[in-house]
Amino acid sequence: MLRVVLVRRELGRRTYAVLMGSSAVLSILVSIVVVALASSMPPQTLLFKVGESYANLNTLRYFSTLTIIGLGLTVAYSAKLWNIGAEGQLVVGAIGATAVALFTPLGHIPVLGIVVGLILASLLGLLWGLAAILLKLKLGLNEVLVTLLLNYIAYYTADYLVYGPWRGIYVHGYPETDLIPQESWLLRVYGYSFSYPVLLTALILVVLVYMVMKFTRLGIAIRAYGSNPRAVELSGISSFRTAVAAFVISAALAGLAGGFELFAVHRKLVPGYKIGAGLGYISIIVAWLSGLNPLLVPLSAYYVSGLMVFRYVLQIGTVNIGDAFAQFFIGIALLSTLATSSLARYKIKVVRS
């Protein structure tokens, strides 16, 4: 009888890159065809609009945030630790930043207030992640489920604050805090929604994370932990500490991104789902599209950011269908990446049994 089996294989780096690149381009083309069929817009108009979105500098606003979070996640995922709680870690980060800017005198001191706010944001993100990894290592809880639950607990913490004790005086009853003092604003580039400090931090972090993962003892231990925690232990490095480090790095960077979102984009605390806005989940996709290579994270972040901007372009009559199509795009892009990377890892063989 004939049987189909999968056999593991290793592809060359170049072949792999070509394969993944063409899968990314192909999924955009497939999505355009689907949108064209569903919306009766001509495909060439859509193609033009997609190109326009990628050329739009507003992509940099999403690019910065997604790069920062995505970089952190590559660290955790390299250790095969499933932090899917970036969304919640981002939200608690934003809460921390608000606390500094709005409720301490530091909020009125330029630069220092922002720096302290960002440190607190990272710290809160870190603690939110620390809880999850300790529960996994000490009690054996599944970190996917714990981080998922913590996301919603973070959402509702922010909701509690903006509907309750932190609700602003000048907000006409809207569930949000007052604006933070102008001294704590990270200025956006005039006419655009991105800000240089955030962009610069993201680019510095790319190099930093790459160096740490490639050249330091910790980075190598983290990558080794991903393939075999026991081997890490046998080489004299604490596997417990390695796992905790990998996880909290990812959580702290998500918290930092939350701080940046607050100082540069929102400038006030809003309900949880509005701060998170799914960026934490989309960053998971960014991390995996990069193949967990820190140097490729900017590329995959850019790929996704273009789609995020495309959302606003796509409007039919008075109905904005952009969100729906962007979500569909992102889903299809990740699905085709998953299928392609499987085909790269496994050879399909027909055998006689």
Partner: protein, 293 residues
């Protein structure tokens, strides 16, 4: 008689039935070892689709049938990627989830602003009866039938299950199809029996809620019935609670997630873990050709 019926209608509202269906569906899927991250997308899709279909066809049976068919299609995609391509359950779930959010909105957006065309009236006895019978059926199926034992074996140790002659991928596909059908029915009842209108993003987060209720009941169908019924009652009387006791909505919303976290931690920190534990291979990638290695 009138006030009593009204009270019972409040306690066993269509929301209860919808949530019970979603939670039971999730339990069936996860007992087979497939980590059900796609649940939120499936719920959002079935909510949007049932709304759109109720306005294009007026036949309730057809609406429910088509929504279930769509969910089965999604289940087959998940099964293909998880079982055949041996990809990560989390990523597959996320990707499918995103695609489903998008597809659902695309289907429902043209009808934005209208109210659903089908309104099944679900009296308390229907809600109570169907919920109890379904929970008992799922419980009996999982623990007392050959199929259920095969499902749980695939979820606890797929390698051992395969060695005993169980086709793990077949069992997991079956569990996905059955589970997603239940989840989709839940989504449709949530929309048509409880909400009645649609706006973008409706139903997003409902799936995670069902997942957290399944965790809180430690994946046991009968515990799930109790916990879900209590939670749904609290949710429907949220505004009353807020007025009467001054409990903020955010606290009530966070409750299922906090409870789920508390219960999993408590179970894992105490010897109870030996008796009730989550499916041990939940979310583990299973590569069949390595089963002897």
């Amino acid at each position: 008689m009138e006030p009593i019926t009204q009270m019972l209608d409040n306690v066993f509202s269509p929301l209860t039935l919808a949530m019970v269906l979603m939670v039971l569906g999730d339990i069936v899927v996860e007992h087979s070892g497939v980590l059900n991250i796609g649940i939120d997308g499936v719920v959002a899709l079935s909510v949007a689709l049932s709304f759109a279909l109720s306005l294009t066809t007026n036949d309730p049976v057809l609406v429910f049938a088509l929504v279930v068919l769509a969910a089965i299609a999604v289940a087959l995609v998940v099964s293909l990627i998880v079982n055949v391509f041996v990809a990560s359950h989390v990523l597959t779930g996320l990707a499918v989830g995103f695609a489903c959010y998008g597809l659902g909105s695309i289907a429902a957006l043209p009808h934005l602003g209208r109210s659903a065309g089908v309104h099944p009236t679900l009296h308390w006895y229907w809600v109570l009866g169907v919920s109890v019978v379904l929970a008992l059926a799922v419980w009996y199926m999982l623990y007392y039938t050959k199929l259920g034992i095969a499902i749980r074996a695939s979820g606890n140790n797929p390698y051992a299950a395969e060695a005993l002659g169980i086709h793990v991928w077949r069992i997991r596909t079956l569990a996905l199809v059955a589970g997603y059908s239940l989840i989709a029915l839940g989504g449709a009842i949530y929309e048509l029996g409880y909400i009645g209108i649609w706006s973008q993003g409706l139903g997003v987060g409902r799936g995670w809620l069902a997942l957290s209720l399944a965790i809180a009941s430690m994946w046991h169908p009968l515990a799930a019935l109790g916990i879900t019924a209590v939670y749904s009652y609290v949710e429907t009387s949220m505004w009353a609670l807020q007025l009467a006791a001054g409990i903020p909505a955010a606290v009530i919303n966070a409750m299922p997630f906090l409870t789920a976290l508390g219960i999993v931690v408590a179970v894992h920190a105490t010897p109870v873990k030996k008796r009730v534990s989550p499916p041990r291979a939940l979310g583990a990638e299973y590569f069949r050709e390595e089963r002897t290695a």
